[in-house]
Amino acid sequence: MIELDTLSVTFAAGSALRDISLKIAPGDRLGIVGESGSGKSLLASCLMGMAPDAATLSGTLTIDGVDMSDADEETWRPLRARRVAMIFQEPMSALNPLRRVGDTVAEPLRLHFGLSRDEAAKRVAELFAEVDLPNPERRARMFPHELSGGQRQRVLIALALACDPALLIADEPTTALDANVALQVTDLLVDLSEKRGMALVLISHDLASVARSTERVAVMYGGDIVERGGTDDVLHAPQHPYTQGLLAARPDPQAALRDEQGKRKRLPTIPGNVPPLSGLAQGCRFAGRCALERPDCATARPVPHGPRMLLCPVVEGAA
């Protein structure tokens, strides 16, 4: 349905996505994880045709068999909301503050499907019920500032679902929410994806929610997908040094907080920071922070290999 083949995005400062290849089939649930600045959100905006104007795209991006990598705004517009929809990080600011949320959700329905005001209102109430908003008719008449963060995110999910998209991209949908609300929202996304047979791309740095809700996962670092495979395989037996570091840096609630001497244990971290675009190595992006680094890692471009796709010349790939 959606296929990326060696898609790259370059800015004046450097390349922000390198040779990304992905396939998303109907009903797939794919997690994309990585630190801030790894290119996850840029990848998502490419799938909506909403990459920044300053970006140069190369490679191909195919939606329903049509190559969209050079498509202009007018070609993209009919696909948005109807084939690919997206929800964003900040439910606080992602809704027009001057509009009743029901009108915001009704707008694409009326525009794309030509529904009348009453038909659209009826459909909005159904959508609100589908995303578990209590009292749908009353909620629809409220303004965003009258709703809680979790409710706003549900409104945004309803908006994204309005035109029956084949793929829903959720870009860190739960970052701004309380932990238990975040869990409900993630579960709702999985539910909806199963019920509607809708593909889901969940972008997150919360490994737990990705583990809970996706079948496959792609780990990104510095604009590369460094490791990709089944979610369970990758998260339980990470192979790329970066994935291993990312998982090790996760606090384990079961682990003791203090060591034998009674000192507070420090979380293991990956040494160094994500370098800026212009400072990324030409070879492996992780060179300079990697424990397994060989002398030629920084200059030689790694080749993806292994049954589980792995972007590291040092580690032997395994399933």
Partner: protein, 314 residues
């Protein structure tokens, strides 16, 4: 909400009251004797004294204020010294002219400024944006009276499309409209230059907000996003400036009416000042001030209509 409107209404009345005191006081501490300006320098002392008594100038100042302000409430501003008719009659004959000019100027300002401002914002850092910014800079720099003269020279003298000035009354509506075109344009060009810039920067700020991205992701056209989502959110600063501009347009009619020989309040105030016709000047200054205060009062109320969040906060 009710509390908000109540507070604004009280503020509105209080401001008008303060304005009336300032206007009255200013007119009364002006040097010069109204009686002498009516009768001339050769008048006898007895005649002057009799006229002063007649005009009520000998009463204490607070009594005269109360008489003036209670009269003003029912539309009685006294008698004009130079025209020898009630001031209200003078105003009544000319108010329509000035209000039509100001309202037409405001409408043209809004149409020009909103479309140019939104256009410039949508072409941010492109040639269209620079073009609008250049033209508006020019519009701000050019004084209205000079622009009026240029417009007259081009459209009235050279091309002979429109009358150079004067107004023959509303009996012939087409002719009346034609004589209002140039003054309206002259008034609106300067104001719309300012407002277009405000619209542009306010719209640019809104376009950076996340909900425009949501709108785009919902497959809305850029045009719809700009006019239905960006503009309403950009309105608060725009409406603030519009309120101030309406005041500027009303007072701007003083210059424009004189350049185009239009029988409006602006021309009347100019003549009354030259004639030292104090009751007329006082009434007109009060009227202009009241229009300005009313415009700002309406703007205050509009904020709540535009932004439902304010309703909750009050």
């Amino acid at each position: 909400m009710t509390y908000f409107i109540l507070r604004r209404t009280l503020g509105f009345i209080g401001t008008l009251f303060a304005v009336s005191i300032v206007v009255f006081a200013t007119m009364n501490i002006l040097p010069g004797d109204p009686a002498m300006s009516i009768l001339g320098l050769e008048a006898t002392e007895d005649a002057l004294a009799a006229l002063r008594e007649d005009l009520g100038l000998n009463a204490p100042v607070h009594i005269r204020y109360v008489e003036w302000i209670t009269g003003a409430f029912v539309g009685d501003f006294g008698t004009s010294h130079s025209f020898r008719v009630p001031v209200s009659e003078l105003i009544g004959e000319r108010l329509g002219m000035t209000i039509s000019l100001a309202v037409a100027g405001m409408l043209l300002t809004l149409v020009l400024a909103l479309s140019l401002g939104i256009f410039a914002a949508s072409k941010h850092r492109q040639i269209g944006d620079w073009g609008v910014m250049f033209l508006s800079q020019l519009g701000i720099a050019v004084p209205a009276f000079w622009l009026s003269i240029l417009l007259v020279l081009l459209f009235a003298v050279k091309l002979r499309w429109l009358p150079p000035g004067g107004f023959a009354g509303w009996d012939d509506p087409v002719a009346a409209m034609r004589s209002l075109i140039l003054p309206t344009v002259a008034l609106a060009l300067v104001q719309s230059s300012v407002l277009a810039r405000v619209t542009r920067s306010s719209a640019l700020e809104v376009m950076r907000q996340d909900f425009t991205r949501t709108a785009r992701a919902s497959g809305l056209s850029q045009r719809r996003i700009l006019w239905r989502h960006v503009l309403p959110n950009a309105l608060v600063p725009i409406v603030t400036i519009v309120g101030m501009q309406f005041a500027a347009l009303v007072t701007g009619t003083i210059v424009i009416e004189n350049v185009f020989y239009l029988p409006g309040l602006g021309r009347l105030i100019f003549q009354s000042i030259s004639n030292r016709d104090l009751p007329t000047v006082q009434a007109l200054v009060m009227l202009f001030a009241a229009i300005v205060v009313t415009a700002n009062f309406i703007v205050d109320l509009l904020y709540v209509v535009i932004d439902p969040r304010l309703k909750a906060r009050q």
